[in-house]
Symmetry: C2
Subunit: 353 residues, 2 copies
């Protein structure tokens, strides 16, 4: 079924208000969440609304958090999310990074006591309107085995980097540090088709093409898969350290699960999950128009490279931007199980989809 962006916006905003979010927070959370649906990252959008509500029902999300800076220097801050929705905590922390960049050239904010924040790319892109480079990362529930490990110690720990261009569309990299996102695995599970090599290992640590390998005690593999997973492991580790060891959030196997039916570890090493945000004013390095002219040249050079038959070279962010333009006009397709979840939520809170 297809819904307009506005339809989904009103519905989601009303649900967030129903669980006790203040008006401004409900709008902010909705915009953040739906940016995933717009950009085609369906696994991280409105399909997760029911998950957030269940966490709230389990008492694991504070719908009206007092998000605040607990420590700072001119270019850094630690933000305590007060157990709030990452969808609200994230944009507020990114705003702190942007303010600091305005003052001293760059701003870097590590966040504790938060929850899942939607797609990393949305947060990084907040910097673009200020002629800044934006960065965002987050740790997440442990599903990934480091190289040689049988234990799951890392999340899919994404990294996003957004760079402003001039006449060309902006450069927006948004990537999990695993070979495949968990969402892709779930699709293969539903269709019961084998997964490509390099995505997952089984409970014995052997590479597997079984779509149920992770569910049955296996793990997702870090980016690089069979031939270089130590690099993806290293990147995921950096995301974990910047997001949680710097801020005082939980890290590694202590990151609380997103699903409400799994309990968080009883011996936390910090508070909630962690994020890390950065903003760099491009004119803290060279005049912004000069920088953007060279970004345009960079982008057109790469886009116009000779390509393999029937393909062309993409710039990070191209596919997501094109999906967003299309979905704003034509609406957003949701799978039937997602629609049923939303209708059940609507019935619970007296909100019409």
């Amino acid at each position: 079924m297809t819904f307009s962006y506005n339809q989904l916006f009103s519905f989601t905003e009303a649900v967030f208000k129903s669980i006790g979010c203040p008006d401004a927070d409900a709008i902010l959370a909705t915009e953040t969440l739906l940016s995933a649906d717009l950009r085609g990252v369906d696994s991280h959008g409105v399909a997760r609304l029911v998950g957030y509500v269940r966490l709230w029902e389990a008492g694991r999300i504070n719908p009206a958090p007092r998000v605040g800076v607990t420590y700072e220097t001119p270019s850094t801050a630690v933000v305590d999310g007060d157990g709030g929705l990452g969808l609200v905590v994230g944009p507020k922390a990114m705003q702190v990074a942007i303010e600091k960049a305005r003052q001293v050239g760059t701003g870097w904010v590590s966040v504790r006591n938060s929850n899942h924040f939607g797609i990393a790319g949305y947060h990084a892109m907040k910097a673009l309107a200020h002629d800044m480079i934006g960065m965002a990362m987050t740790n997440a529930s442990p599903l990934v085995a480091p190289t040689y490990s049988l234990d799951r110690l890392l999340g899919t720990n994404p990294i996003a980097v957004a760079v402003p261009a001039g006449e060309q569309p902006d450069f927006v990299l948004d990537m999990a540090t695993t070979t495949a996102a968990n969402g892709k695995l779930e699709i293969a599970q539903r269709k019961n088709i084998p997964i490509p090599e390099g995505w997952a290992q089984d409970a014995a640590g052997i590479g597997s093409t079984d779509p149920n390998a992770v569910k049955n005690g296996g793990a997702l593999l870090p980016l690089g898969g069979a031939t270089g997973s130590h690099k993806g492991y290293g990147l995921g580790a950096v995301v974990d350290i910047f997001s949680a060891v710097l801020s005082g959030a939980n890290y590694g196997p202590w990151v609380p699960p997103f699903v409400a039916f799994l309990q968080p570890p009883a011996d936390p090493v910090g508070q909630g999950i962690g994020h890390f945000f950065g903003a760099m004013r491009v004119d803290a390095f060279r005049p912004a128009d000069e920088f953007k002219a060279h970004m345009d040249n960079w982008i057109t050079t790469f886009r116009n490279a000779r390509a393999t038959e029937g393909q062309h070279v993409l710039i990070p962010g191209d596919p997501e931007r094109e999906t967003a333009s299309r979905r704003l006009l034509d609406g957003i397709d949701l799978l039937d199980p997602v629609v049923r979840d939303l209708e059940a939520l609507g019935a619970k809170f007296g909100v019409k989809l």
Copy 2:
């Protein structure tokens, strides 16, 4: 043949002095270059000395550069390397980043008009003694094809991140953003054995296990290889943009080649090659002893994970640190062709190996 670190140090220092490096710069360049040999990255160490000398002979390296800050804000700077050895420019730029971090919490330095700087990890590790997280990246001669591209547009563009721990050894990630470093390909070429899938493509853009594929018009593949090279491409692109579009160095296909027998592009878009350095004081986020105690916990948790048969989980930097301890004691093995190159250099400059 095996040489002691001190033997190679005296020799290399004397060669750098012979090409006109001031005493302090010759020592600095030697320490930077030999850090690669110590840490087991043989492709980036003294084996490249003859390459640097050839670039100097071709008039493409300034042995006595005036390295200086051309623009700055409290947390950022642009450094002009004046065409010097990256081995000298790099450490000086990293020092600027560390000074800025001391003042305002973090420091970020983009460098233009430089040359190859050895291993990225060495530069990032400079931050550790100051209880700072260090970061270093550099662009490099184009050998890598973005996803779907037939053209080589990126270098192996490494990223290094060094994080101080307490009682545990420090965390040091140092990785090319390709599946395999070019050095590994050269080894396969010499032995004439096939390379693993995901390392390279041939001139038609088809994945190849031919060790000569890159030499014959093919390209190295970004990290992720067959199943996720768009992520490695994105990371290599970020390194290129931070190192060169921010600083005014050459980027993409314009990065000048390391080998003197290939001419730099006639239409440069900037000056020399580019680097990017970062330093973050950990106590700009939380007390340093608290941070380091949690890093120790992070490291021991990962190191003690259950592992596949006969393996154990490594912390980034473990293998390189162990190699360095061993080589400081037992000396550094050099291949015969490298020894012959060094002897020829010694004869040219009247320096004994």
